[in-house]
């Protein structure tokens, strides 16, 4: 029985497989790489191109398993899409967890607030963030099926990874996308856990000598566009080592692409001539390579940079510049990874003012400040760090992060050698698929946060004051897949025939016990307590039927269920036993 691991990434997706005979291994992905050219690549760039027939003919996009196609995903989509930005969907995953938009509405390619006004006039296909994700997944499925006709992906166990910080709505939408793509047996797995499984798979039993009870591992995942931190604790349970995920940070929209753009801006000034859009893109590409060289081992002191002429005259039009290593280090290491005190906090964007609707990019570019804040918030100093994501291949950046952790902890912090950072998450997911069958160690995790629904306090109406909201804990943190929590009977009721909307909150427990989380289902806490985050509301319209007349108040109790897929479901159960209704996540645009 094969298990497939899929890293559905913001900028790159990867596929891995594992079975009894063969440990987790990466699976190359056939994709369109040029007009009418299909070849295998180690990863699938997460880009979707939706061109007009005059921009890219359908014949140029056909795959070995398809006829002419009206869209493309992968390498050619990314490259040709740079010339057709109005047809290109990028960072669909960041849109999937952006509550500022309706994530099931056809809003991509995103055209910005101004262009939204022209929405009806603009031609061309648009897709929802869910549908874009489904197309990446469908491509992976088709590529796998084409290469493995005897083992169709729909019949295999498939692990799709999501950021640990994804809220229940984004997880639900990822599961929807996977079903839409034709995967029937899907389970969601958190990316840092997958990276840790990849480490376990790569090290074999040696990990038991590298880690001991009491150790805390920071999984530091810095990809092209996003940064995520998680803490994993090693504990002793009756003589056995157990691994538990104890903390999950926020999803930070900051990554290697920001560094490439910064370096490109620096070099661009020296080129002495304004660049057109494609040369600018070539410059960013060149700067990405320059970054990897200058922050890598044995870096040259000076690196020449050339931007080739745009027309067929190549040499005559070439622009030249150079980057000194010291310059790059000052910009990239001290700019993005400055040395900060343990008490440093990331700068927040000031609220208020008009902002263009778009992705909520991080305001503070200093990764180390985000890290200091994360470590301080959870009150646990890591003893080890496991790096993941393409950016951390640069030893200079990894060294800075380790140096900071050592300075804050006042003791040694060791680096765990994991798998190839571009493929680790997919490999770890495929490995976990086998672990789940009973071989090998499993990370204890469950839900990353505790979840609450808002309950209005019953009190006399006072003009000008909204009644205070209490938060009722419906799912404690750490609820495992497949488990159900029934809340004690409360004075809750559903009105038949009227839409019921519950405000929905999340909070993460802190190992030091501070914060709003009590860990008990049924607990009531203040909804505006520090650390409480409001999510999309949940809602339900119960239609009148034979048992329930319109306008009737049905006494209910709440039930939380973590599905085998890994999504959270909330149910209203009639106390008289005559009805059960699932609350739906509302993904509509929030005012």
């Amino acid at each position: 029985m094969t298990t497939l691991g899929i890293d559905l990434g913001t900028t790159n997706s990867a596929l891995a497989a594992a079975d009894e005979a063969m440990p987790a291994h990466a699976v190359p992905i056939a994709q369109v790489i040029g007009p009418g050219e299909v070849a295998e690549r180690p990863t699938l760039p997460s880009f979707l191109l939706l061109p007009g027939e005059l921009e890219v003919p359908a014949a140029q996009l056909q795959l070995p398993w398809s006829g002419p196609m009206r869209y493309a995903v992968g390498e050619f989509a990314r490259e040709r899409g740079a010339e057709l930005p109005h047809r290109l969907v990028a960072s669909a995953k960041s849109w999937l967890c952006n509550p500022a938009i309706d994530r099931t509405a056809q809003v991509l390619p995103f055209r910005g607030a101004q262009r939204e006004l022209e929405r009806d006039m603009a031609d061309g296909e648009r897709v929802s963030p869910v549908n874009a994700s489904a197309r990446y997944l469908a491509h992976l499925r088709a590529a796998w099926d084409d290469a493995h006709p005897d083992e169709p992906a729909s019949e295999q166990d498939v692990l799709v990874t999501v950021p640990a910080s994804f809220d229940p709505v984004a997880r639900e939408l990822t599961a929807v996308a996977a079903r839409e793509a034709g995967f029937d047996r899907v389970t969601l797995l958190e990316e840092p856990q997958a990276a840790f499984y990849a480490y376990l798979a790569a090290r074999g039993d040696a990990w038991r000598r590298e880690l001991a009870p009491g150790d805390v591992v920071l999984v530091c995942d810095i990809g092209g566009g996003t940064t995520d931190f998680s803490l994993i604790e090693i504990a002793d349970d009756a003589g056995n080592l157990v691994v538990e995920r104890i903390a999950v940070g926020d999803h930070i929209l900051l990554g290697g692409d920001n560094m490439d753009l910064a370096l490109a801006a620096l070099v661009g000034r020296d080129l002495g001539r304004p660049l057109d859009a494609l040369q600018q893109r070539a410059l960013v590409h060149t700067c990405r390579r320059a970054k990897e060289l200058l922050l890598g081992g044995a870096a040259p002191d000076v690196l020449p940079i050339a931007i080739l002429g745009r027309g067929s005259r190549l040499i005559g039009g070439t622009l030249k510049a150079e980057v000194r290593r010291a310059q790059a280090e000052a910009l990239l290491i001290d700019g993005f990874f400055p040395e900060v005190e343990a008490g440093a906090r990331a700068a927040q964007r000031r609220a208020g003012g008009l902002r263009e609707l778009g992705l909520p990019y991080a305001h503070d570019p200093a990764v180390t400040r985000h890290l200091a804040e994360f470590v301080a918030r959870f009150g646990r100093m890591p003893s080890h760090v496991l790096f993941n994501g393409g950016v951390m291949k640069g030893p200079a950046l990894a060294a800075r992060v380790v140096g900071q952790l050592r300075a804050w902890a006042g003791r040694d912090v060791r680096v765990l050698a994991g798998a190839d950072p571009d493929l680790a998450v997919a490999l770890g997911a495929a490995h976990y698929g086998q672990v789940r069958r009973g071989h090998g160690i499993r990370i204890r995790g469950g839900t990353a946060r505790a979840y609450y629904v808002g309950i209005e306090s019953a009190m006399p109406a006072i003009p000008g004051f909204a009644p205070p909201i209490k938060a009722l804990c419906v799912a404690p943190q750490g609820l495992e897949e497949g488990s159900t929590v029934e809340l004690p009977d409360d004075e809750l009721g559903l009105v038949v025939g009227e839409p019921q909307v519950f405000r929905f909150f999340a909070a993460a427990a802190r190992p030091d016990g501070a914060g709003p989380v009590t860990g008990e289902a049924g607990a009531l806490v203040d909804a505006d307590a520090d650390g409480m985050v409001e999510l999309d509301p949940v809602e339900k319209l119960v239609a009148a039927d034979a048992d329930h007349a319109a306008g009737q108040l049905v006494p209910i109790r709440l039930e939380a269920h973590v599905t085998e897929v890994g999504t959270l479901e909330l149910w209203c159960v009639a106390r008289d036993g005559r009805g059960r209704w699932k609350l739906e996540y509302s993904v509509r645009e929030r005012a």
Partner: protein, 194 residues
């Protein structure tokens, strides 16, 4: 007794660079090389080059001729080298009037792009491992298509000689599968910015 003598004769023969006694040569295995040498090429027959095109059985449309396929394959490779490394632009541009520094600056990028194409689509290895300019032996039964002899070969192999170029062999070609209905003669489309 005669063998002991022969052994001593060989020992001194080798030590002082004389010809080996003819009796010794008869006793030595025929292929044992007399000088530091390289093993015979690891792969006596060229590895079959993988064709990434779909199996003919999967396509019931009328097939284009083999010659057409060869032409399309060659043109697609040129298109790749142009797209990734601007190779056609580079070769088509007259170099007169440019300084070596200008040419060098552009050549770096052309080199990087074309090399990426090679790395992604071909696995290359030397036909004859070993340092160039070193003495090597050309074994008996060698394939003249793999090893090109320069100068006059006397007698039967093994031959001794100097390795001037180690050669290249494509171990694996992962060339793109080509869709029908695309004109491969256009290796770089004209670009018009609107």
């Amino acid at each position: 007794m005669s063998r002991l003598f022969l052994a001593f004769a060989c020992f001194f023969g080798v030590l002082f660079g004389k010809k080996l006694p003819s009796g010794a040569l008869a006793l030595l295995p025929a292929t044992t090389p007399p000088a530091p040498t390289v093993p015979a090429p690891a792969r006596p027959a060229p590895a079959p080059v993988k064709d990434a095109r779909p199996e003919p059985a999967r396509d019931d449309r009328p097939r284009v001729s083999t010659a057409q396929h060869h032409r399309d394959g060659a043109l697609a490779l040129l298109a790749l080298l142009q797209r990734e490394g601007r190779l056609i632009d580079f070769l088509q541009e007259p170099l007169d009037g440019f300084s070596d520094a200008d040419i060098g600056a552009a050549a770096r990028d052309v080199h990087r792009g074309c090399r990426k194409v090679l790395e992604q689509h071909l696995s290359l290895e030397p036909v004859m491992p070993g340092a160039e300019e070193a003495r090597v032996a050309v074994p008996k039964g060698f394939d003249p298509a793999e090893i090109r002899l320069i100068g006059e070969a006397r007698g039967e192999p093994p031959f001794r000689g100097t390795l001037r170029h180690h050669g290249w062999r494509v171990v694996d070609a992962r060339l793109p599968a080509l869709a029908d209905g695309v004109d491969r003669a256009v290796i770089a489309p004209a670009e018009v910015e609107l």
